[in-house]
Symmetry: D3
């Protein structure tokens, strides 16, 4: 169950409106790695955690924090859209700065949402449930989380460089710091789980059932041997259970597939004699 | 540039048709973490790598391998669909095993693809470009890759447990082994990059610009203190640059947001006197 | 900013697992009118409200409540999936009840989420940001909200009739009651706004600018006069500003459109002489 | 069965081409609340109406009218795209008005459709079947219809303010008038149904089965009591069956959920001892 | 502008309800090649036709017919859903035929649409605007149309074989006949255009600007020479402007791409020395 | 199984960066008819071909070639994005050419992909599996392929006209030539199949089962007789099995549909007495 307070966790006030930046900032709200994604991802992972209360609690701590991030960003976007030139005509476009705005702002910020944030990314793709990951395997999922915080911090850093609005930079400096913590935090949780389970996910699959002989091999499918110069191509594997191997010229082991004809009632093309 | 040989890298022959399993196996072809995803993800990462030929080569090695995985799975699905009971009527459903197939197989496997694999997941959602990640930051992206191989191996392991068809198990044992190698391999590449750049992505953002004072803090937003019992809540942070801190009762720092009215030409609701 | 408590607002325990019902119940989580929709819709409306603190508060009250609904449903789905027969083989399908489950359960509940809820509807379409509505015009949006609660209660009622599991019915009886309140509540908010603004949204558009002469007319475009038998076809209009009119045989006023050829550089088909 | 006449119901001729406005106008064709939505929504509702010929007829009257609206808008967009500067080079961008067009027009209007309208919204998201609502419950659906006409009129009004092209304004004044009628008309149909069935949808669900004790309660989940100042928080409810109640500090009734471990064959993380 | 008559163009009555077939039949309504696609495709092509009234008229004739096809199919689906066992419990699943229905019917046909057709395909993917093609080049588009009618007739034929319901077969026999005419008809329109413009689309692109030396070459990228045994590999080309050529071992002409580093403010990985 | 060489099949170097053109060029990568589509379409068709090795080989030849096209375009886009003005502020927008770029470039090219190509079209819609066609009926699918190459060549030709960058034109001249060959080649394959099977797809459906009497009829559903002036309206049909017929005033043959009420447990609106 959730409670809300009206105050923002951190301030979200730009120095001045800027509809072009509002459009860009949407990436952090409804993009593949925006705050809606991490909020929903951590919630769904937490709600599905079976036992392991420590991790469930951690997931719900951070999932709850992230909804507040969506709130700060939505507030910031609304303010960046204040006074957007929504009724300017072509005449105005002769001023190049105005022209850039007229040509470049997200038209749905005016037509659809009336200067409110949208549940979309920076080019207007709606947020999708398929952005999130929750598998029931915590080590797998924490790796997904570490990735999400890494991508998110890259994006927030890029946006930080693209503006000189102090208020916007202030909020981004908060988000960048939180992404840093969350990287530190998921990395620690991963280290803890890897210590118990080892490197490979899932740890519970009986390795005798897999084709172990090809489980440490780098196949050189892209001509050129540059990739052989890495820690992944020779020496003991990171999982401590085998040795990396490099295969310079991989060859097929399987046969050329020959498929049976389909039943006539499907009206596929029937096999013909080659001419 | 690419070349193709007709032989499969590994064999892909089930012992007998099984349209219900064909439907499930689609998850590994066109699901969020299926082989289309890793093939395209590694390709797009490789094609965008600027310098760093070793990593570009590695990405294209594995991306190319993964297209071959799609091919093996597509072949397997086509064979699992051989002889699917596409023309059975309701009468037949009185045999429960037939009924399960009639009710449960993917109807598009008959109506749309004529017993061929589909570019979709196990419930028919089409594969989407938004499943892939390629940011230009290799450490971020390799974390995404490690996650993808972890999720993929979890899914392949689950599918392995759901069948007793030896031919299917044989192919899955190959895919599971390759997912194991790829975890080992991305983990090694990550270790190499973290050694150079440190834990935090991106390493190049000047940390003086972020709100460092909140960059090591776990906020307890979900009541209960279970999450304080982890390595992420106290002691030196994994990045070696700070100490974890735990805040039991987080408080807002920002103000309650009050937004300006929208311009009248947008026909938003105007502010009213409360009654 | 948000806080979370671990306790559910209401209990969410089925009497026994039922993976087929788990699949169906997903409609209320991630469907077009599921709880993710109302949670996000009320939040985005609230965050974008400019002035009108009473309505902003109301939106955030209910938006916050709805996240808790997602939580209860996600918990219920996880429990309905307990002990799902994820490793049964074809043999088992000879038992018809088992066969129905094998053919009918959502395969992603096993393969992808490991018996956790998914951010999707009952047939697996991912939740989308385009399900929500937030226009900045509160009367328009409250009508959207009233619709959402109406559709939601219809769906929850249907699901209630499809099960005899007392625990599931218990949770549904809560959701149905809340949907009833929310209909009562949005209807009251609508009445309040309509009293101030009148029936037509937006109330601020100067009606002299519209083609008033056709603003009260029902055109009989589907042959047959049944539709003339309603309150919308004659007498004073509900907005108090005109009289309904019925046009039995609507005729075109515009001309047949003749478009100019496209510039040659677009390589459209050029106009040809008819033969 | 449908017939078509070549003449447009109303004229659709702009004074001059304007590819930026063509892009914006797409919102009314293929947006969430564009004419494709209402056309398809009313059709699917009408085709599924069981009995109640008056409403079926009404739905098909208006659904048929709306296809004609798509036609007028598609014609208008094609004309706004006449003479679009599709072959201008960077040089030209030095003229700011041209630059705004080059940067801002929808590139698919040239590359993909050759100056024709697209079945998308103003930022190019394709129209989706999931935009429409048809539940078989007419009162629910008419509320959806009233909402659609309200959102649609808000959007058309905003677009009206964004142009000074008389021909465009002429067409928008028609659409705005029709949206006004359709609000008047669905409101009348709703009033008729509410008179028979009461406020709550569905009216046929036996209220003894729901948790009536919480069916009139506003929970104050967002701290602050502004929302208690409305007609929805005290006094007799609009449905005439209860009294509104305001709960200032809502408390959980359910327990903290503890989920059972997943079966080992799913390879979820197993419960661990906390450290 | 459109008119509607209540009578169906052809009858749409099944002999008996069958919710499993209703699910499958949805493919013809809202699938990639369903009737919504051809209706919208022909309309958008017609509305964008510039000059060439004969083709515009043809497109609108058939587009209008296809909306009537959606209507017949929607009616058929509604009737196939009559009496669907929407309230059966698990007990009932012990009857295998019932079990197949319970497991296999589309749950949204009950929960969401109340036994009405849905704007989706046979597995519930919503219809999308991106299914349609309208380029402004009629020869290109008529090829798309010929393809659509071919795919559609394949699907309708498959469905015909999957049922023994005479009423359903009756409707399918109509749709299959119409798909046959439409193939005949688009083929005739294509022949007419190819006679004027030649084989290649677009005919207006100056061929001196393309790399003509590779415009008649089959590259053997998939090892094995089977594909050299076709009319496309040697002899005069169908366009009458060149001779087919077969290249057994294609070699790259371009260089290995070396990309420049990204600007530091993007925080991409910088080029590193290989180790 | 696939192999990769680092060299591009053809060169992919622009004369100078141009982020606006990079955005447009995305249409050829991830658009409905971009190279991802043809690559995946030919692969899935090839992998599902049952017998008919010649066609399987042809499909895999060209499918493999097309992945190389994606690679060239991705390289070109990365180079067009070199030096994109990602950190310019509003000040800079006063230069109109810069303003056009700031307003018009795809923000995800900077924020998300760090100057790499995206798996999307020119307005950022992600590539989807539903763009491809693979039915198991080769004649149907080759018509889809001929259409894809026609649409693709139209789009590439349009893009060719929109730039004066010699390097870009060079690559486009290659793609245009290849699209020309592929039209020639699919046309030849179609001719070969039509010679064997006749015009109608599928050729194997027993025509006695369809309503032959309406299989050669053009219905004049759009008032006006222009469409009667084509080869498709009179004389012998192209399939050689009938004669075209023109029906000037089509009339319905079916009845007005009257649907049965839904079961009460679905809570649809029950039939009411009309008032």
């Amino acid at each position: 169950m959730f409670y809300h307070v009206k105050e923002l966790q951190f301030e979200a006030k730009p120095d001045r409106p800027n509809p072009l930046f509002a459009k860009k900032l949407q990436e952090l709200i409804g993009g593949q790695y925006g705050e809606m994604t991490v909020a929903m991802q951590y919630m769904f992972q937490g709600w599905a955690t079976r036992g392991n209360e420590k991790y469930r609690d951690l997931l719900l701590d951070i999932g709850t924090e992230e909804i507040g991030h969506v709130e700060m960003l939505a507030t910031m976007v609304a303010r960046l859209l204040d006074d957007a030139p929504v009724d300017l005509q072509e005449e105005a476009a002769k001023d190049p700065a105005v022209g850039a705005v007229l040509g470049g702002m997200n038209p749905q910020h005016a037509i659809v949402s009336g200067l409110g944030a949208r549940p979309t990314d920076s080019i207007g793709n709606p947020w999708m449930g398929s952005y999130i990951t929750a598998s029931g395997n915590l080590l797998a999922d924490f790796r997904s989380n570490l990735n999400a915080e890494s991508q998110g911090r890259v994006q927030a850093s890029r946006l930080y460089e693209m503006t000189d609005d102090k208020g916007v930079k202030e909020l981004l400096s908060v988000l960048i710091a939180r992404d840093a913590y969350h990287q530190n935090q998921w990395a620690a949780a991963i280290a803890e789980l890897e210590e118990q389970e080892g490197l490979l996910v899932p740890s519970t699959f009986n390795r005798e059932k897999e084709r172990l002989v090809i489980a440490y091999t780098l196949y050189n499918f892209s001509e050129g041997e540059d990739s052989s110069q890495g820690r992944w191509a020779k020496g003991p594997a990171l999982d401590g259970q085998g040795n990396y191997e490099y295969v310079s010229k991989p060859l097929p082991e399987g046969a050329k597939p020959m498929l049976k004809p389909a039943p006539p009632k499907l009206h596929n093309t029937l096999p013909m004699e080659d001419k």
